[in-house]
């Protein structure tokens, strides 16, 4: 019975919520710019429309191109299953699953990059190369944050970590880790200081340019997968900032929506960084996560 409830909530938060989160980001940006903005549920309509269309494949592409969006979506969904989404433990939990979590997100990224390279388009190759650079630098910060959590709780599984984070509210190391994670979240989800999701110039795109050749259901999978990645990473952030909320599905959904609003505000207030500065941003967030780890070690008395 308990698992049935947990499964239902996880399915709702992981499968149903993501397009709404993107809708909220777009809406917040529109309101901040003084426009009315698209309806909040536009994301669902777009997905439904794309799923009805017939995909078009270029003659130069192979199965790698077709597999990309599917693998990316499946990997992100699997990563979501490792997170405790609302009701108790995650659907899947074992010692060391946080490494699998990080690399499932990495696998999704790899699949999208391979698909982009498979088209042979120079724009997409450029996007893939930027994505690889951003991903490999962001991974350092993600792992340092995860190690900080392991040190803070003494657990090796995401479910156990978030169950053990009760007393974390007054710990400066965890706030530093949360700040580093928030910075990486923007990079992972191709949001504004790193990548501009609304740009029309292929030369400046990172995530969008890799989706240029996808059409119909494939494009729906790409967009749905990106939205789901946003949901998964923001659930991780909510669990870190407000551990008590991560155990109640409604509060977790509220927290994820708050993250989406915050992203919208950041996007309204900032401009995209120049590409050389992106490297600096990511190294800086890794340094922040490193300080969090060092502080946690000292506060635990382990160093």
């Amino acid at each position: 019975m308990r698992t049935a409830v947990a499964c239902t909530w996880a399915a709702l938060l992981l499968l149903a919520l993501p397009p709404l989160l993107l809708g909220i980001v777009v809406r917040v940006k529109a309101i901040a710019a003084g426009r009315a903005g698209a309806p909040l549920l536009q994301g669902y309509r777009d997905l439904a429309r794309l799923l009805r269309k017939t995909p078009v494949y270029s003659g130069t592409t192979t199965w790698v191109f077709r597999a990309g969006p599917i693998v990316a979506l499946a990997a992100t969904a699997a990563a979501g299953c490792l997170l405790p989404l609302g009701a108790g433990a995650a659907l899947l939990a074992f010692e060391g699953d946080l490494v699998l979590f990080a690399y499932l997100l990495g696998l999704g990224r790899f699949a999208m990059m391979s698909a982009a390279l498979d088209t042979g388009s120079s724009f997409e190759g450029m996007g893939a190369s930027r994505e690889a650079a951003i991903g490999s630098l962001g991974e350092v910060a993600v792992f340092l944050v995860l190690v900080t959590l392991v040190v803070a709780t003494g657990e090796l599984s995401l479910s156990a970590i978030f169950a053990g984070l009760d007393a974390g509210g007054g710990n400066p190391a965890l706030w530093l880790a949360a700040a580093a994670l928030a910075a990486v979240l923007l990079a992972e989800n191709a949001r504004i200081p790193i990548d501009d999701p609304t740009t029309h110039l292929e030369l400046t795109m990172v995530h969008e340019v890799m989706a240029l050749d996808h059409s119909g259901p494939d494009l729906a999978f790409v967009e749905y997968g990106a939205a789901m990645k946003l949901a998964v990473t923001s659930a991780l952030l909510v669990g870190l900032v407000w551990p008590a909320a991560a155990r109640q599905p409604i509060a977790l959904a509220g927290g994820m929506i708050a993250v989406a609003v915050a992203i919208g505000l950041v996007e309204s207030a900032m401009a995209r960084l120049r590409l050389p500065r992106v490297k600096q941003y990511l190294i800086g967030s890794a340094a922040l996560a490193g300080v969090a780890l060092a502080a946690e070690l000292v506060l635990r008395g382990a160093a």
């Binding site: 400066p172 600096q280 000292v298």
Partner: protein
């Protein structure tokens, strides 16, 4: 764990990192001003940790001294000399910003390790105190060494001195206030001298790049 003080100490490290990571001189100075505000709050936070006893006059004087000198006077002076010299960015630092940030992270790790090796003679008010103090000293050195602009080097000196100040706070209850105050005043005088030097460099060379001082002319 002493909550508020730990937060302030963590924030102090982050502002020092920010000063290393930014290329804008004004942002660098503002980071040091923020450090001044944190340093003003820190003695109070350390004092109020156990119970709500009113702070001793010693601590109050220390806090207000830090606020007036480190958070207001010195940053105002530096911002003025930036305006006077008309320099806004660190154009070509000795070490690129990426290397600086990586180096800064390594220095913070080193500082935390060194602090772990040191055994304080008595119980310190916060475990983070010594590591953060050492980290600030090292990051200050990094700023002094890795940058060309005189203003950034002054900020580096300030960050370094803030580290020393934090270290002193750990001993605040064992240390006569006269020593602390004389340190605060020394810094103010030092920055005055540097401010005047910056103005002279900028008048003589049309910029405040200190590498110009290294070459001899007949």
């Amino acid at each position: 764990m002493s909550g508020a003080a730990d937060f302030l100490l963590a924030a102090l490290t982050v502002t020092a990192l920010y000063a290393v990571a930014t290329s804008r001189l004004a942002a660098c100075v503002r980071a040091s001003a923020l450090q001044g505000f944190i340093l003003a709050a820190l003695p109070l936070a350390l004092e109020w940790r156990d119970g709500l006893a009113p702070p001793s006059p010693h601590v109050l004087v220390l806090a207000f001294g830090a606020l007036a000198i480190k958070a207001v006077a010195i940053p105002a002076l530096l911002l003025r000399s930036i305006r006077a010299a008309g320099v806004r960015r660190e154009v070509e630092p000795m070490a690129s910003l990426h290397i600086s940030i990586l180096g800064a992270a390594a220095l913070v790790a080193l500082a935390f390790w060194i602090a772990g090796q040191m055994v304080p003679p008595f119980r310190l008010p916060s475990r983070l105190l010594v590591p953060v103090a050492v980290a600030n000293v090292l990051l200050g050195f990094l700023l002094v060494v890795a940058r060309r602009q005189a203003v950034t080097q002054v900020v580096g000196y300030l960050v370094l001195e803030n580290g020393v100040f934090v270290f002193g706070l750990g001993l605040a209850s064992h240390q006569p206030i006269a020593v602390e105050l004389s340190v605060l005043l020394d810094v103010l005088v030092g920055v005055f001298v540097m401010g005047i030097a910056i103005n002279h460099i900028s008048q003589a060379f049309d910029h405040i790049d200190t590498t110009a001082l290294a070459s001899l002319r007949e």
